[in-house]
């Protein structure tokens, strides 16, 4: 059954998810189309749970969820979604005794790639995409953390999925690998939807057309990275010392302090970044929560 309602890659309406009595997601409304969407938020905000719902690993408690125009609660629809889905879980376990090639090949089997030649071509393609061709015969237990993340990313690209769900994919990657990751994701997202959660605001700034900030199971911001950065407009200033009234301040490379908060009159204002906007947003949330 194709529900094909919104035409968006992902559509949530009043979506909730509870574990026992704990409500982890609270009435989310969201529609995502092609492009890269970044999910930001503190630990426990509900990002991973939301991504699991999009990846059909979990069922919502209430509300409606539509993924690639289909309803994951319907068995036939769910199968179709899974055929067009790539997923990197937050803590991806790998078979330690497998080689890189064997592992990706195994996941390809589970993704119904039964033709040996076609499967081999796809496995080689994704290993090349994440630059793991040279270590494809290496046992997974001998890989570094960054390489393991790349193996996880490689398996998610199998079958050229229409929806890519990535839970903190850049953890453990060195700067060069992160640049490579950005290249892979941006190429993949040209006509497809990529949803990624991260704690790295630089990734959001460099990669995402849209950013969704979550806190306590709710969406507290949905807009562009520039829009998020703009929340800190007029609230970032550089000074020789840390301002005790600032929401947060830190010493920068040139010896000055970057302060974020309500700027005093006459200070030297700086151009805000996504990170500044995120800090201001969280500061507001904290203020509201404690009020």
């Amino acid at each position: 059954m194709n529900t094909a309602g919104s035409g968006a890659h992902v559509a949530l309406t009043q979506l909730t998810k509870s574990y026992g009595r704990t409500e982890v997601l609270r009435g989310l409304n969201l529609a995502l189309g092609p492009g890269v969407v970044g999910l930001l938020g503190p630990n426990g905000a509900g990002k991973t749970t939301l991504l699991k719902l999009l990846a059909t690993a979990l069922a919502p408690t209430s509300g409606t969820l539509e993924v690639l125009g289909r309803n994951p609660a319907d068995a036939a629809d769910r199968l179709e979604i899974r055929r067009r889905l790539g997923y990197v879980p937050q803590e991806v376990g790998l078979y330690e005794n497998f080689t890189v090639y064997e592992f990706v090949d195994y996941i390809a089997i589970l993704k119904e790639q039964t033709d040996r030649a076609a499967r081999r071509a796809d496995v080689c393609r994704v290993l090349a995409a994440v630059d793991l061709e040279d270590v494809r015969s290496k046992k997974i237990r001998k890989l570094s953390g960054g390489m393991r993340r790349r193996v996880a990313l490689a398996q998610s690209l199998l079958g050229d999925p229409q929806l890519l769900v990535l839970d903190e994919p850049t953890v453990g990657l060195d700067p060069e690998q992160r640049l490579r990751f950005r290249q892979i994701v941006s190429q993949h997202a040209e006509r497809r939807c990529v949803v990624l959660s991260t704690h790295m605001t630089e990734d959001v700034e460099a990669l995402c057309e849209r950013v969704v900030v979550m806190d306590h199971g709710a969406i507290i911001f949905d807009g562009t990275p520039a829009g998020l950065a703009a929340l800190a407009s007029g609230k970032v200033w550089l000074a020789p010392a840390a301002d005790p009234n600032a929401l947060m301040s830190w010493r920068t490379g040139d010896g000055r302090h970057r302060n974020v908060g309500d700027a005093p009159v006459g200070v030297h204002l700086a151009e805000p970044t996504v990170q500044d906007g995120y800090l201001v947003l969280n500061g507001r949330v904290l203020a509201v929560s404690s009020a």
């Binding site: 990846a55 059909t56 690993a57 979990l58 069922a59 994951p72 609660a73 068995a75 769910r78 199968l79 899974r82 055929r83 889905l85 997923y87 879980p89 803590e91 991806v92 376990g93 790998l94 078979y95 330690e96 005794n97 497998f98 080689t99 090639y101 064997e102 090949d105 195994y106 996941i107 089997i109 589970l110 993704k111 119904e112 039964t114 081999r120 494809r136 015969s137 398996q155």
Partner: protein
């Protein structure tokens, strides 16, 4: 022929010449022509070079494929040899834990069978019948616990249903131990036929654990089922002799009922199981 001739070697002929699939007469004509025609000589030379490169590329591709080909272990080979597809064999043999749990179940069954055969004691034989069904059950649970299945979070999102994987791995744990125990019947003295009595309860326990895994983790469901099974003789205050009688009669009928009931639950809850997985 010289450079002014109107006849030239077309690309198809050049390709056939390079691949040695051209007849001898035409090949001689080609060779005679290229000695006088520079452009055809270049075309044939390029075709020969390209063909050799292609052949070399093919050889390297085959070598790469052989080197990359997943190693097929004993268990996977055995599973394939009984007619399972390579994909199913991979699913069964994917985790070291699953392989070891399967082997452990077989080893446990055989050890208990040998132990029971060396004693004519009713109590020892009753113990054998009580403990033997637990092996395959534990094997099934181990194959699915978090430490046994590191990619569980991924398995929940692939098109191959978790339900199917659960069924395949459970069968892989139960079937070998049943087959091997059946083969061990001849060494079980006069009680040979009674050695079969644990098989149906074992199957029933495994199906019950699978059905219960709709609501709890596989390890927990196996533990619950084991506790219920082990407590039955205690609750019923059965002696060794009555355990043997019960295993020959009541336990068989009850097992059939459990298989039907738990099997129905497992099958009818498949859509839920596939979506929610283990609780």
């Amino acid at each position: 022929m010289n450079a002014e001739t109107t006849w030239h070697i077309d690309s198809a002929s050049a390709q056939r010449y390079a691949r040695h699939t051209i007849d001898e007469v035409t090949a001689a004509s080609v060779e005679a022509h290229v000695s006088a025609c520079g452009s055809c000589a270049a075309a044939v030379s390029a075709a020969v070079e390209e063909t050799h490169e292609g052949l070399l590329d093919n050889v390297w591709a085959k070598v790469d494929e052989l080197l990359d080909a997943p190693r097929v272990g004993v268990i996977e080979r055995s599973v394939r040899s009984v007619g399972c597809s390579p994909a199913t064999a991979r699913v069964i043999a994917a985790t070291g834990r699953a392989q070891w749990s399967c082997l452990s179940a077989v080893a446990l069954s055989l050890t208990l069978a040998v132990f029971a055969s060396t004693t004519g004691d009713d109590a020892a034989f009753a113990l054998f019948l009580l403990f033997a069904p637990i092996g395959p059950l534990v094997a099934t649970a181990v194959a699915f616990e978090r430490f046994g299945e590191p990619v569980e979070s991924l398995l929940r999102t692939v098109p191959t249903a978790l339900w199917t994987i659960a069924l395949v791995r459970s069968a892989a744990a139960v079937v070998p131990s049943i087959v091997l125990t059946a083969l061990s019947i001849p060494i079980l003295n006069e009680r040979g036929w009674l050695a079969l009595a644990w098989m149906l309860p074992s199957f029933a326990l495994s199906v019950a654990a699978l059905a219960l895994s709709n609501w709890m983790r596989p390890g927990q469901s196996a533990l619950v089922v084991t506790l219920i099974w082990m407590s039955l003789p205690v609750v019923a205050r059965l002696q060794a002799e009555t355990v043997l009688d019960a295993m020959a009669g009541t336990a068989q009928l009850t097992s059939i009922a459990v298989v039907l009931a738990a099997g129905t639950v497992f099958v009818t809850r498949r859509p839920t199981f596939d979506y929610r997985g283990f609780s």
